[in-house]
Amino acid sequence: MNQPSAGAPASPYPNYLAWSITVTVLTFCLCCMVGSIPGIVAIVYGSQVNGKFASGDEAGARRASENAKIWTWVCTGLAVLGLIWMIVSFFINGASFLYGDALQEFQRMQTR
């Protein structure tokens, strides 16, 4: 881990790791692959922040933090889309699952 050692100043640039790991795990359960790739990119950038700051590369730490933030938001957006897709497909498929027989019966009556 890139935790700063005791006494060293903590990085002022957030690494968003807790958030990016959470949404990455959620995307694997929601929309699979599509959201997980930006999530993994966000985790990789986030993991660089503290190390770069500790080695004195302040500009690098800031850039890594900004990239982690962007990719975390992309992943969060895809997780929300995945959730919406899941709910919509549930209602569409649920209607035909529950009322499929009734719908077929209705169509038969129409064509008769």
């Binding site: 807790a18 790991i21 795990v25 929601l30 699979c32 699952f97």
Partner: protein
Amino acid sequence: MKPGSRHLALAATAAASSAAAAAGVWVLRRFDPSVAGSPLPGCLFYEFTGLYCPGCGMTRALHALVHGDLAQMMAMNPLLPLLMIAVPLLVLQGFGYRLPLPKAVVATLISAKFWIGLLLGFWLLRNLPWWPFAWLAPG
């Protein structure tokens, strides 16, 4: 995050997650994802590639969980119990709460290497057809 907004964010997240969990339990008590034509969506990655992703079997594992069948839950996706413990802790950590856990545990929880290794490793291993890896595949 400041303590005030932190508590507010946590309360909002807890309320949203409880509502989602209640809806999920209701749906999974009424619908069985293993039944053909079930309205619960399958995995898109599996559909296109025929390979399992790390989340494959998650719906069936949750279905087993709300029916109290823990062995079936582990058979479908052994990652589920770990995530059910780790994700709430990650959310607390993300909101800036100090977790009352050993330092090494917290360091692992927010370790990029741990999570990427776990997810990619699990992804690869559960697609191997031999014992004991075949046990990681859903079913």
